[in-house]
């Protein structure tokens, strides 16, 4: 079962309430309840909540069931001293099962990523004596100190996590915290896994001496300023390395509370000078024209992370970034023009090796504008539709609104992107590109390209339902995967589910085409999106082809790892 569950309790609560509020706003309260079956037989959902790591029974744990068809219909109970819980008089149907307890992560039964196993009740189905294992939160906390052993306030501490998400193992940013007056930070509510800790900060004493302010022509301008104690802290990875290859992962088990301290050692810093654009001499937008912002980023585990720096705009239209250590950086310049929603963005590659590094706008890489037109195969395109360009396995994505005529434009940096349609109830049935290389859904954009996409959107997603079987018995909590042909270039076409307690699964929103259906035991930490890994499981897969609007039923045998 797919869990439509936001990650935080608050958000979940809000969804729950919103659902109720909407129900009330549109229908009378009495119509809100599902149709009642006066004489319908009732069933029982019961079990025991235990700590996933120690196996200890957990008392006073809040347990909730929700009808998967009417998610606002919930029942909640507290576990007894031996961790047991029971819901009597449950009508025929499927129910999500969720538990929450102080010190534990809120989680659903057999939860994996955004999937879990719903409990089916009915004749001959097993819904009792469930063992509900929940994971205690992990905590990583510690102190950031400077070279003199004093706490560093306001340091940015980033936590990266090795994740198996969407079939690929990547190191993803999990959360950022800021140290307090003791240099202390804490990351709580962590799931078991491997984490990397990274600290960035500016030495507090690396200050710009503030000078007299002048009032000129009624406007305030700041006199040039002195930079003293020009030092910077290098980006520091646990346990104290300055490069990510020497970073050591911190393994967290459920209930772990680990201390990770870092010491930052300041080094003499450089300055990056960004020359004024030619327009600055006239009336055009200069770098300090007001509608401009500059930021310095560094690639940390493949993700662009902004660094703490001090940026000064000079009266001549140029800019300085202070406190930069030798290394490779990305400088982003956003220039806002009145009347335009989006800034003009330029990226500079800065290799800082020593002394002062000069950058010029001529050396910047401008963004490429990908334009195109979407044509609906039948009917009209719904409003509020978007074309999204996503770098594989990368969080930042760029999107462009599709106008009434079907035209769109998306601005991206040069690179390879997956083309995704965010069009309500429709899928991309045809895709062609001019002026850039396209393989499957993957578009490669080079600088100075002017790519144009022709997209055909169609209605009628297919849906595949079925049962995962171990021999002739239903298999609960296995990963069900629908893999497209040419998986390498069509990542967006993968569909997944987790089988419910009666072995059933449901794969909605399938784009018509040819697929392989697989059920894999403990497949959750498998890099299934990697074609080389997937290959080993294809022999025991079922080929399946679906056309628009199809709704086939398909049983699938579970294969072991």
């Amino acid at each position: 079962m797919w869990n439509p569950k936001p990650t935080s309790t608050v958000a979940r609560l809000a969804t729950f309430l919103l659902a109720n509020a909407l129900a009330l706003a549109t229908t009378a309260p009495s119509q809100q309840t599902p149709p009642a079956h006066p004489a319908a037989p009732a069933y029982r959902i019961s079990g025991k909540v235990v700590d996933a790591h120690s196996g200890a029974a957990l008392a006073r744990c809040s347990v909730q069931i929700a009808d998967v068809k009417f998610r606002s219909q919930t029942r909640t109970t507290l576990t007894a001293g031996d961790g047991s819980f029971a819901f009597d008089g449950v009508p025929l149907g499927k129910y999500s099962l969720t538990a929450q307890r102080r010190g534990y992560l809120e989680q659903s039964y057999e939860e994996h990523e955004q999937y879990s196993t719903a409990i089916a009740v009915g004749p001959g189905l097993v819904s009792e004596d469930l063992l509900f294992k929940i994971v205690a939160e992990g905590v990583i906390a510690g102190t950031i100190t400077d070279e003199a052993g004093e706490p560093v306030r306001g340091a940015q501490v980033r936590l990266f996590e090795d994740q198996d998400t969407n079939g690929i193992r990547t190191t993803q940013m999990h959360q950022t915290e800021t140290t307090d007056d003791r240099g202390f930070y804490e990351f709580s509510r962590l799931r078991p896994g491997a984490y990397y800790l990274v600290a960035t900060a500016r030495p507090w004493y690396a200050q710009r001496l503030q000078q007299q302010s002048h009032f000129e022509n009624g406007q305030q301008s700041e006199a040039p300023q002195n930079q003293v104690l020009d030092l910077a802290y290098p980006t520091t990875f646990y346990p104290g390395a300055n490069d990510q290859d020497s970073a050591t992962p911190i393994p967290i088990k459920g209930g772990d509370r680990l201390e990770a301290n870092l010491t930052l050692a300041a080094q003499p810093a450089m300055r990056l000078h960004l020359a004024a654009p030619p327009a600055a001499t006239g009336h055009g937008p200069s770098i300090n024209g007001g509608g401009v912002n500059l930021s310095l980023s560094q690639s940390i585990f493949g993700q662009r992370e902004m660094l703490p720096t001090q940026i000064s705009m000079n009266p001549d239209g140029s800019a300085d970034i202070e406190g930069v250590l030798p290394g490779h950086y990305d400088v982003t310049l956003n220039r806002f023009t009145p009347g335009q929603n989006r800034p003009e963005t330029k990226h500079f590659d800065a290799d800082v090796s020593g002394g002062s590094t000069e950058l010029s706008e001529d050396a910047s890489a401008s963004e490429v504008v990908v334009t195109g037109k979407v044509v609906a195969l039948a009917g009209k395109l719904p409003p509020n539709s978007w074309i999204v360009l996503r770098r594989p396995r990368s969080r930042p994505r760029q999107s462009g609104n599709i106008d009434e005529a079907g035209n769109f434009s998306v601005r991206v940096e040069p690179g390879t992107y997956e083309v995704i349609g965010n069009i309500s109830d429709m899928y991309i049935a045809g895709l062609r590109a001019q002026g850039a290389a396209l393989v499957g859904r993957m578009l490669t954009v080079k600088a100075d390209d002017a790519p144009k996409l022709d997209i055909v959107a169609a209605r009628g997603h297919a849906e595949i339902e079925g049962t995962a079987l171990r021999g002739d018995k239903p298999a609960s909590a296995v990963m069900v995967l629908l893999a497209p042909e040419d998986p390498k270039n069509n990542e967006i076409l993968f569909r997944r589910d987790q089988s419910d307690s009666d072995g059933t699964f449901d794969l909605p929103n399938v784009v018509p085409g040819k697929y392989r259906l697989l059920a894999i035991e403990r497949g959750w930490d498998l890099e299934w999106a990697n074609p080389a890994v997937l290959q080993a499981f294809l022999a025991k897969s079922v080929p399946i082809e679906v056309r628009s609007g199809d709704h086939p039923k398909q049983a699938i045998q579970v294969q072991a790892r």
């Binding site: 979940r12 609560l13 729950f16 309430l17 109720n20 509020a21 009330l24 706003a25 309260p29 809040s62 909730q64 919930t74 029942r75 909640t76 109970t77 507290l78 929450q100 102080r102 010190g103 809120e106 939160e137 905590v139 906390a141 070279e147 003199a148 004093e150 306030r153 306001g154 307090d180 007056d181 003791r182 804490e186 709580s188 509510r189 900060a201 500016r202 030495p203 507090w204 004493y205 200050q207 710009r208 001496l209 503030q210 000078q211 007299q212 302010s213 009624g218 305030q220 040039p224 300023q225 002195n226 930079q227 003293v228 104690l229 020009d230 030092l231 509370r257 300041a266 003499p268 002062s356």
Partner: protein, 590 residues
């Protein structure tokens, strides 16, 4: 200083003399004040957030290489370095050595690794004994400042003056340590509660009235701990927020907001009084209550599609109410409230006005259903402004007596920005009108009149509404009343006040405040310098005080002002005459 229109909406008084960077967004410096030799100040916020006032003299620049050398020296030698200063300033003196020590103002202990800046030119870090040294100083006089995370600058700051350069007098810079409030939040079982919102409130003064405002918010960590730091001495309170535990259901429980200390007789009794450097531990264990349904109907919400509900404890702390249902067709609503007694307000936007209705609800004793809110239109208050130009308006706006407000010009009849500020709740301005107009839809309550003439030479000579003298009384608007006609007379026959500061450091930064006494419409005026004139002062009684800090005193509270009376001089300002007053800098408890 007369408060500008732009300052009204955030209910915080602006201190632009100490925040020139913010002054871009605020009105220009005080119009009716002529500063004499007023030093330029700037505020530098360290990464730790300590606000340090910096003053800068004539500035010279060094090459970058030199700076890097300096920092390395300072770094390696921990501040014992004595770099020579580049002699680019006009040499007024023989080069001399400047030595000093940075001390904690509370403990008197030396502060290690404080950053000391001399003028705008150089900086060093102090050693373990708090010592610093600058060699080859040529300026006769320069400003010198120290900073360190966890410390604030002393009010007034420091200035070094080398009258005898050969004396080499050691120089003491004191820094004021920050205060901290921290604690642990536990549940009924004594276990820590993680993730509960905690707010820090502080007793602030704006428009001469004391009120509690939220300063910062945080959440408890996995051990139930919270921490507020970088606090100045002052009056504070800690409030836990709404928090529910367990999965959302009527079976779940909620933590009821708790305030420490509880609201008591006076504002001061309801406060944690923090001294500089103090660390106060405040552990909290909020009451846990079951959630009970409260249902009923709202009337009078008109075409409004939504009604929102605000729930407050009797201490005025907000209880989260994201969990309400409202049926726009029938007006029926349902809330889940933790057991207890609450003030519930239903708010709807009817036409373009925000209207509300308030009911006291106690659960679970009272019936959980049949709670009724009736949203009614408020009073309509026509405004008439009469301008009496007694004096010839000055034709030269650039003359030393600056006239004209942010949008007014000298010589033109002024308009006025008028608002009614609710006093019986700690809430913002309810309604505003500009110029002769009508203030519509004023809900029941008690109000004080706020008038901001567009021309700073004018003042409120009288104001009344339905026979109530609004210069001296509050305006009470009852349920279902039609309102009264507001009549305001503006005049420009102000007086002026010439202030001489006696005693204290001639370079000191005492601010002189004129606090109006005995009415509700005049504002305080502030200015700085040893000898200066408040040019346009509305007639009336004032208390003139030279304060050692910038915090406005609660001048609308006669009780609170009584204890400040001895620190200043009471004066009476008359129309078209100069009042001379001599004040001595005083230490004034905020």
């Amino acid at each position: 200083m007369r408060r500008g229109v732009a300052e009204k909406s955030p209910r915080r008084s602006k201190r632009f003399l100490f925040h020139p960077r913010q002054s871009l967004h605020t009105p220009p410096p005080p119009r009716n004040v002529q500063p004499v030799d007023e030093p330029k100040n700037a505020t530098l916020t360290s990464p730790g957030g300590s606000n340090i006032a910096l003053a800068a003299e004539d500035v010279s620049f060094m090459t970058r290489g030199w700076k890097i050398r300096l920092c390395l020296l300072a770094f390696v030698a921990f501040g014992c370095c004595s770099p020579s200063i580049a002699q680019t300033s006009p040499p007024g003196q023989e080069p001399h050595t400047l030595r000093g020590t940075v001390l904690d103002s509370v403990t008197g202990e030396p502060i290690y690794r404080a950053l000391v800046q001399l003028g705008g030119q150089s900086a060093v870090l102090t050693d373990h004994e708090g010592h610093f040294e600058f060699e080859g100083v040529t300026e006769a006089s320069s400003s010198q400042w120290a900073m360190k995370p966890g410390y604030f600058a002393e009010p007034g700051g420091q200035r070094y003056s080398a009258t005898d350069p050969t004396a080499n007098q050691p120089f003491i810079v004191k820094l004021v340590p920050e205060a901290v409030i921290s604690g642990t939040v536990t549940g009924q079982d004594g276990g820590p509660v993680e993730g509960i919102p905690i707010r820090l409130k502080t007793l602030a003064v704006s428009n001469g009235l004391q009120h509690w405002e939220t300063r910062q918010g945080t959440k408890t960590n996995s051990e139930g701990q919270y921490r507020f730091y970088e606090l100045r001495a002052g009056k504070y309170a800690i409030v836990t927020g709404s928090y529910s535990e367990g999965l959302a259901d009527e079976n779940s429980v909620a933590y009821v907001p708790v305030r420490y200390p509880p609201i008591a007789g006076t504002e001061a009794q309801s406060a944690i009084q923090l001294a500089p450097g103090e660390h106060r531990q405040v552990d909290l264990s909020p009451d846990v209550q079951r959630l009970y349904p409260v249902a009923g109907a709202v009337n009078g919400y008109g075409e409004s599609r939504g009604v929102s509900f605000q729930v407050r404890t009797n201490d005025g702390e907000e209880v989260a109410t994201s969990d309400y249902h409202f049926n726009a067709r029938t007006g029926e609503f349902r809330l889940l409230l933790p057991g207890g007694s609450y003030v519930v307000t239903a708010t709807a936007y009817v036409q373009r006005y925000m209207r509300e209705s308030t009911v006291q609800v106690t659960v679970p004793q009272a019936p959980g259903s049949g709670v009724s809110f009736t949203i009614e239109p408020g009073a309509t208050i026509p405004v008439e402004i009469q301008v009496e130009t007694v004096n010839e308006p000055s034709m030269s706006p650039s003359s030393s007596i600056v006239q004209g407000g942010p949008d007014g010009q000298a010589g033109q009849p002024p308009t006025a920005f008028i608002s009614l500020e609710k006093t019986d709740e700690q809430r913002g301005y309810t309604n505003m009108g500009s110029g002769p107009s009508v203030i519509e839809d004023v809900p029941p309550g008690r109000y004080v009149l706020q008038v901001q003439p567009s021309n700073g030479a004018y003042y409120v000579a009288s104001a009344s509404c339905g026979g109530v003298d609004l210069v001296h009384e509050e305006l009470a608007i009852a349920h279902g009343t039609g309102g009264c006609s507001l009549r305001i007379v503006l005049r420009n026959d102000t007086g002026s006040v010439h202030v001489t500061q006696r005693g204290g450091d001639p370079n000191g930064r005492s601010m002189v405040f004129l606090y109006p006494l005995g009415d509700l419409v005049r504002h305080s005026l502030e200015g700085g310098g040893a000898d200066f004139t408040f040019a346009t002062v509305p007639p009336g009684r004032y208390l003139a005080i030279a304060q050692d800090h910038q915090e406005e005193l609660p001048y609308r509270d006669p009780e609170a002002m009584r204890r400040y009376a001895g620190l200043g001089q009471e004066i009476t300002v008359s129309s078209n005459s100069v009042t001379n007053v001599e004040v001595s800098p005083a230490h004034v408890e905020p």
